[in-house]
Symmetry: C2
Subunit: 147 residues, 2 copies
């Protein structure tokens, strides 16, 4: 288990990889974001993206999933928010997305001594090294308990 004490500003790591396929892009978007450029390969050709791309909430969901699968379990008490979520390059069927985490800030809670706030920049890159999405995630994380 990874606690507040285990985060250090400046540390950078590759968290994991995710292979994106057309079926999943369409399935997610049909339910949550049925824009033509997310659900219909033919219509998507005519869009500014010239092809099918993953929906924003889908990329965010992938990011959260990769953090959960590939990181040591983090003692998250609560996710507080996301800032500066940017869609920089489209994510397309067949892309392999890698997620990188950079710790920006750790700050002990001023009201409760058993926890603190951790801010990480999360960057999703494709197999060409292009930045697909970037965001800053802020979470409330428990300190290591004393035994």
């Amino acid at each position: 288990m990874k606690y507040f004490d285990d985060f250090f500003p400046g540390e950078v790591e590759k968290v994991g990889e995710y292979h994106l396929n057309q079926e999943e892009i369409i399935e997610f978007a049909l339910k949550w974001d049925p824009q033509p450029f997310h659900i219909d390969p033919i219509d998507a050709k005519k869009s500014v993206f010239s092809g099918l791309i993953a929906a924003g909430p889908h990329l965010l969901a992938i990011t959260v999933r990769l953090l959960g699968i590939f990181q040591p379990k983090v003692a998250v008490l609560a996710g507080l928010g996301w800032d500066e979520v940017r869609f920089l390059e489209p994510a397309r069927p067949g892309d392999t997305l890698s997620i990188f985490r950079e710790c920006l800030e750790v700050r002990p809670s001023t009201s409760k001594s058993d926890r603190g706030i951790v801010r990480n920049r999360l960057t999703l890159k494709n197999q060409k090294g292009q930045h697909v999405m970037s965001l800053v995630a802020t979470a409330l994380v428990a300190k290591k308990p004393f035994y």
Copy 2:
């Protein structure tokens, strides 16, 4: 179809409502964010939330879906990003979430005369009027075409 020209800073509207149930909270979280407080009603009781709550990407997906279903179709060319995404109150099974849109800013593109940038604050409230999530969404929207 709603174009760039149809957005006005200061306009506020209720976009739509969404009924959240336990089955969907767990189903979404099992795939994308399998934290105990999102997937297991018993474990969730012991968390800081004292019960099952919806995952962050789920709330974002609901927001995007409601915008798509209940608004006049908007000529979105691309979603550019989200800022100040804040999780303010937990969203729980049985909650009815309402989403409100406030237009913050419209700005014609300086490089292309056929489009512009629209910034909206989106607020998800529960049936008690509590703010569950808030964010600022920025999108590139086409201007009304001339015929």
